[in-house]
Subunit: 221 residues, 2 copies
């Protein structure tokens, strides 16, 4: 009876995430991997989403979000990111459980709740991971962002987001004193292995590997 079940919402968000990374159509297997389900389950769900005109679906050739699906996904993303701001700014959560909790909160469907939450939070434009929060019309700001890996030596920037949200990665960053919003400058790049030496907050020297640098996005200043 709801426009969208909570499961359908999760699929839609997964499809959005995958299709905004690479532009082409999204494969069944990619969705299954993202969602932690099996391909057969995905096939089932794609049928349902296609019937609700959220996706265009040609069998064996993957899916695209329709305009309607895109709007809906942005609405879910908006809720997710607003709740993340709440968890961090108000409840003082550390990284760990935030995405999971927000995954559940985002499924609540009460426009007034989200409107009041947005107001209460002061209409934030970015979530704690630096990802933009769509407004109620689905518009959001994009800011230039560079993988840390691609920053030249001496360039300064602000840590804007992480690509990998696993708990272990976030814990690692915590331990290294790397957090969203931290100012940093690249001191040296080691050509041999692609690792970097950073100065964070003008006070801490930090070494990160190429793998880590690839998962950190920086907004150049």
């Amino acid at each position: 009876m709801p426009l969208l079940t909570s499961s359908e919402g999760k699929y839609l968000k997964a499809i959005y995430t995958l299709s905004s990374a690479g532009k082409e159509s999204v494969s069944t297997n990619a969705i299954a991997a993202q969602m932690g389900t099996k391909a057969a389950s995905v096939s089932d769900m794609l049928g349902k989403l296609a019937e609700k005109e959220m996706i265009s679906y040609r069998k064996y050739y993957g899916v695209h979000l329709t305009e309607k699906g895109h709007k809906t996904a942005l609405g879910i993303l908006r809720k997710h990111r607003l709740w993340e701001v709440f968890l961090v700014d108000k409840l003082r959560f550390q990284w760990e459980e935030i995405p999971q909790i927000a995954d559940e909160l985002e499924q609540l469907d009460h426009p007034l709740l989200i409107q009041k939450l947005d107001e209460y939070l002061g209409y934030p434009k970015f979530d704690p991971y630096g990802d933009p929060i769509p407004d109620e019309f689905g518009d959001f700001q994009t800011k230039a962002r560079v993988p840390l890996q691609d920053m030249p030596v001496d360039m300064t920037g602000k840590i804007a987001a992480v690509k990998d949200n696993t708990a272990s990665f976030l814990r690692y960053l915590d331990k290294m004193g790397i957090y969203i919003g931290a100012r940093m400058v690249v001191l040296e790049k080691v050509e041999f292995d692609g690792s970097l030496e950073l100065m964070v907050d003008n006070q801490r020297k930090v070494f990160v590997s190429r793998e880590v640098a690839a998962n950190i996005l920086v907004q150049p200043l």
Copy 2:
């Protein structure tokens, strides 16, 4: 896989509500009415709850909460009422949608979330309707409360809770300037029809009928 599905939680809360009103065992039909489902669905669910040892269930003779079920229900009530405080104190909700939204929020199962929410709200002891919030061990304060109807003339008190949570009743109270926490004194009781004249906040004279007075609980001061 979860200890309790969200549906089971709703049943448990309904059983708690019904059994804390009248002490005896709760009937299948009463639960069905409370939940807006059919008796057959309730019978199904009672079987499941009995297997999880949340209730003791003798066929055809209604149910009682077990110690475990009682604790669990109090945990749900705790979450429900904390979220209600959040909705009113922080998001500035008016009465209307609060119970529905809290019904959904209460099903989230993240102990840390509730702990942090509790802290953020300043460990409130009562929800916006004046109902006590159990602590993490299930203990809660009970305060003496009297139906407004039973207050003698000249007695002062604080509006503590309403028995009827329908939107129309709450709107009516709003219009009359009656709200939880308001100080009031009974000026006059009309024997003929049981209606009362109140002085609210030391500044407004308000007339209420016997029916309305029966649905307002006052904490004498």
